[in-house]
Amino acid sequence: MAIIATKDTRLVVQGITGREGTFHALRNRDYGTNVVAGVTPGRAGQNVEGIPVFDSVADAVAEQGANTSLILVPPRFAAEAILEAAEAGVEQIICITEGIPAHEMLEVYHYIRPRGIRLLGPNCPGALSPGIANVGIIPAEVFKQGPIGLMSRSGTLTYQIGGELAAKGLGNSTIIGLGGDPIVGTSFIDGLDMFQADDQTEYIVMVGEIGGNEEEKAAEVIAERITKPVVAYIAGFEAPPGKTMGHAGAIISGSAGTAAAKKEALEAKGVRVGTNPTEAAQLMADLVTKG
C-alpha cells in the first residue's frame, strides 16, 4: 500500500516550467507517477511534454483533480506556494525548496496543521514508494521494493542507507524525506504513525541528525505505541556546537540537540542505533533475517 506516494496520487507540480520543475516532473512521470498538472502563474494553456500548465493550484485541482502538490519554486515564493496549495484543497504537499525563512515556516506550520493537511519538508527530497510512485527528487534506482519504511532528515544519507539495504537484498515500502530545516511539516512521530498504520511496512528505519529534539520525542512515541521494530541512525557526533552543518536545522544550540543525547534517548526506549550508516543497515538486516 505504501504512504504519501501511492497509486492514488494525482500530482500537480508547482514551478513546472522552471529548469528543476520540468526535469523532476518528467522524471517522476517516467517512473509511473500520475502527474496530472503543472502550475506557473502566467503560463496557463501551455503544456510541458503533455502535462497541462495552469495559473493556479485551484485551477489544477478543479480541472485535473490534483490531490498532491510538489513544490519546486525559489525560496522566497515557496511559503506562499505551500499556502496556495493548502487553500486549493490539496491534501498532501511536498516541498523540496531549501532556504525558506524560518519565521515564514512558523506561520505555514500553524496554518496547515489544524486543517489536517500533510506537508513533507521543506528542504526535503520528497517521497518514493519503490515500484509505485515517486514524488520529488529521490533517485529511485538506488532502492528496492520491500517491507522497510525509511524516513530521514537528510537526502543523501537516505540514499546511502537505502543503497546499503538494497545491497543486502532488502527493500522499502516508502522512503520519506522529512527535511533539513528547523520547522518541517512532518515529524518523525508523524512518520512513525503513518508507517505503523501502513500494511506494507513491517519495519522502520529513522535517520536523524543534530539539532532540535524530534528524535527524543519520537523515542517516547516508539515506547508508547509503535509495535513495528525500529532501527535508527543519527549523524553529527563530531559536530561542534553553534555551527550550522549544511542544513539550516542541523545546529547544536548550547547543550541542546546533540547526537549523543538523541542516541541515548532512543536506546533508552529499546531502539537499536547504528554508529554509522553501514551498521544501521546491518542492524536492520539482522532483524529481518531473524524474522
Binding site: 522566497r76 512558523l106 500553524h110 527528487i137 537526502g155 528547523p182 549523524a235 553529527g236 561542534p240 549544511g246
Partner: protein, 382 residues
Amino acid sequence: MDLYEHQGKELFAKAGIPVAAGYVAYTVDEARAAAEKLGGVVVVKSQVLVGGRGKVGGVKVVKDPASAAEAAEAILGLDIKGHITRRLYIEAGVKIAKEYYFSVTFDRSAKMPLLMLTTMGGMDVEDVAANHPDKLARLHVDPALGYRGFHGVQLMSEAGIPVEERKALAPMLAALYGVFQQDDAMLVEVNPLVLLEDDTFLAADAKVTIDDNALFRHPDIEAMRDLAAMDPQEQAAREHHLAYVKLDGDVGILGNGAGLVMSTVDVIAQAGGRPANFLDVGGGASAEKITTALEIVLSNDKVNSVLFNIFGGITRCDEVAKGLLGALDATTITAPIVVRLDGTNAEEGRALLAEAARPEITVEKTMLEAAATAVRLAKEAS
C-alpha cells in the same frame, strides 16, 4: 548569522529600545577617543561572537580616557574561547539598580517563539533553568496571535517583577519581541536587562542571531557581517555558496548532502582520524564546483589527506570525477585523495578515474573502507 553586541544594539536602538551611548573601536587610540567623547565612566567591552567574556577579563569599567586606553590595550587580541578580540565597544557607564534577564528564542520543539524572563540577571540562563527553575518565567507566543500586552503582564507576574516596575518594563518586552519578528531573529537575548537608579530600563547587552535564510530581505544586517573575522576557508566557501565548517584535524572531507557529510565526519573519527572540515558541495554539483571545493579543502595547510565521499542522486559521479581530475590539473595537490563514488553514473566516474591513473588518487568501494584509507594516509603524512 550571529551579531556582535554593538550590532544587536543598533537594531535595538532602531526599534526604540533604550541602550547606552557607545562607539566601536578597533585600536587603542580609537578607544581613548571614544572615552573622551562619552566622558565620565565608560565600559570597555570585547566584541566577540561567543559568551563568557566577562569571566576572562573581556569587560572593564574605567574612569577616564587614559584607563580606557589601558583597558583597550589589554583586551584587544584577547582570546576568548578561541575567538580573538579584534574590536571593542566603548560604552557610557550607567548606574545599575537591578539586573534582569529577558530573551525571545525560536523554540523548534514547540514550533513557537518562547519568551523567558527572570530577575536573576547576569547569570547563565541554563544555570538558572537548572538550579532555580521557579525563578525562570517561560511563555510561548502563538505565531498566529503574535505578541500581545497580556503576554508581558503574565510573564512579569510569573517572574516576580515588582508591580511598580512593570509599567516601564512592558513596552521594552514588546519592542524586543518586535525586533525578533521584524528582523527574522532566531534569538534575541538581553542579559542583563538593567533597571537603572532613575527607574528606567536599558538593554545592557545584546545577543542576536538572524536566520540566514531571511538575510535576503535584510541587506542592512547582511552588510554587518565581519568578513575579516571569518576563517579564510569559510569565507572562500561562502563566496562559492558551499557549506563549509572548519574543524581542527587533518583529514579533509568533502561530500554531497549535509547528512552524508556529517556522517563522513563521524566515520573519520570512528576510524581513529581527526576531521579537518565539513564541506557539502550540494546537489547537482558541476565539475567546476567540485574543483573549487577541493581547492578550498586543500588551502587549509593542516590537511594531510582528503576523503571525497559522493553518493550521486542528482549529482552525477562522472561530473564529480571530471571536477576532481580538473582540480588535479589546475592546482598543486598537497595531500593524497581517497575517492568513494556511488549512485548515479558511479561506474562512469570510476572508469574516468581509472583511465587517468593519477598516483594522488586512491579509489575505494565503500564509505568505511574509504574512511580507513584516508585516516591511514593522513597518519603516514603527519
